[in-house]
């Protein structure tokens, strides 16, 4: 049984995203600990990619800073192994298909298991292509997280039926990044999801304020926040971790 469900056992879940190595791995470690201490229920660790086509400008910037800082897949694996000694909440990797494919899918996924990663989010791997990695993920007990978008419509049932870990509901059209308003009819999407699966679903893309987090968590099982956290790293650099802790607390408090 998936470790990821533990993230959804303490009421509405807050899922925090950061890019590994932005601006360096020491800061990432401190930021993860600050987020967890302040109530983050699951950590999404981004492995940077040179051309992140699903990201808006903020997370694109994080990817570039991290790569410029010299992180590699191997260095991130070593970093997570170390982090796992004291960070107990579920952790998943978020990256692009080529990062996994190029490392060797079996080698990448078996290492995930070894270092204590619970799942994998690949935004450029839709339902039709998941067989690329899913058999190996199953073999090693890593959940391959599925995404549902505002345009999924008739695809929701098939995706939800085969989903593992949690379902990532994309709140809006477009790329990642803060939005002043989320207009998608998420209520009916969540309803369609619930008819097809019991696994939790969390909403991400465009969430930055405590009000939005509460609204999204009320509609689903949790809120995923990336760009707003990355923005703090962009602004404060190595000094970002306490700001991230404070921010996560404000978001988690609003969701209770």
């Amino acid at each position: 049984m998936s470790n990821i469900k533990k993230a959804f056992e303490n009421g509405k879940a807050f899922l925090a995203f950061l890019t590994c190595g932005d601006p360096d791995l020491e800061t990432t470690a401190a930021a993860v600990r600050a987020a967890v201490e302040n109530g983050a229920d699951l950590i999404e660790l981004g492995i940077p990619f040179s051309d992140p086509t699903a990201e808006g400008p903020v997370i694109q910037g994080a990817n570039l800073r991290a790569l410029r800082g010299g992180v590699t897949t191997d260095r991130i694996f070593a970093f997570v192994k170390e982090l796992r000694r004291d960070v107990k909440v579920p952790m998943v990797f978020m990256t692009y298909a080529n990062v996994v494919f190029s490392y060797g899918a079996k080698r990448f996924i078996s290492t995930c298991k070894e270092i204590g990663i619970d799942g994998l989010i690949l935004p450029d791997l839709p339902f039709e292509e998941k067989e690329e990695f899913q058999p190996i993920c199953r073999q090693y007990g890593i959940d391959l997280i599925s995404l549902i978008a505002p345009t999924s419509e008739n695809r929701i049932a098939q995706i939800a039926k085969e989903a593992e870990g949690f379902l990532y509901l994309v709140s809006s059209l477009g790329v990642t990044g803060a939005r002043s308003e989320i207009k998608t009819d998420l209520t009916s999407i969540v309803k369609a999801v619930r008819q097809n699966t019991d696994i939790p679903c969390a909403i991400g893309f465009g969430i930055s304020t405590p009000e939005q987090a509460k609204k999204m968590a009320d509609l689903s099982d949790g809120a995923i926040v990336g760009s707003a956290i990355v923005r703090l790293l962009e602004t404060y650099g190595k000094d970002a971790p306490p700001h991230i802790g404070e921010y996560v607390k404000s978001m988690k408090d609003a969701m209770r």
Binding site: S50, L67, N98, V100, S102, Y103, E128, T151
Partner: protein, 396 residues
Amino acid sequence: MTNPNGRFGIHGGQYIPETLMNAVIELEEAYNSYKNDPEFNRELTELFNEYAGRPSRLYYAEKMTKDLGGAKIYLKREDLNHTGAHKINNVLGQALLAKKMGKTRLIAETGAGQHGVATATAAALMGMECVVFMGEEDTVRQALNVYRMRLLGAEVVPVKTGTATLKDAVSEALREWTSRISDTHYCLGSVMGPHPFPVIVRDFQAVISREIKEQLLAKEGRLPDAVVACVGGGSNAMGSFYHFIGNKEVKLIGCEAAGRGVDTFETAATIATGRLGIFHGMKSYFCQDKDGQIAPVYSISAGLDYPGVGPEHAHLHDIGRAEYVPVTDEEAVCAFEYLARTEGIIAAIESSHAVAHVMKIAPAMEKDKIIVITISGRGDKDCAAIARYRGEDIHE
């Protein structure tokens, strides 16, 4: 099994965000319903013939043939099409399809600017809105094409991310499509990206090989011994090869941009230096580092400056049906100058890569052999860059 949709051997597929999946499915359904529709094909043929100026000439390059002293050389003159390149074939097809689908807005990426100009042209003709994404560096290298697109009523968005070249323009166009799908068609310019684009673009460009076959049969009563074309993403090459794939006696040769050489980092020769990967919606060969980070590629030619290659080319390479050879900047520039002086034809620097390879192989071939080179575009746009390469600073 991964999605068998749009696979060429192990290559191709649909590696895109969930948000775009219904858009590509809708596109595939629309394409399948129109591709054999007589009315659609009548309209497209009329656009090809009356607007774009097809069929393009198959010209016997007699002086070049005699000068090289070997195989007989024909030039397939896609440079004579309206807008000056083969890109118009695909764009007229996709714009017509998009219009039938009820779309009112076209977005496109462009490298050298030829595909952007073609898309802006089709949008103007069909009364559609048009936004073209172009790497900022390319907007400088190809300033004249930026002006042409604006003159045609398109908005040109300079892309500043990454290496600010073609791959970043593709990424940005994909991002834009994710945010606005209902009224927008992404008019992808090459035989790449997620299925069904590699099939659609190939089919619209296949008019090139269909015409070469007919024209050469009329002139020589036989098929050529080799067809040679340049390859970035690979649309003019795929169009030039397609109807010859079943004719095993016809050699198919794709010329990649080697930039400063395949033994340097300043190259864009994907098949020579890349390895298997997943990017921009497809599995294919890509220039990348050991961690799968896409490499910043280089070529003097903005149109070939792409780190990947279309999945059908990757497959033709795997099965040995086509041969892919690297051609350097220096070789291409020499060929650019050679064709201008020998035949009075200023070919695009992209196409000059194919000319350069033929200059190497033709002399060693028998005089009764026939080579067809696809001149994919005209070279006016390149004159300032070539002058700079030769140390001369001219202003357009």
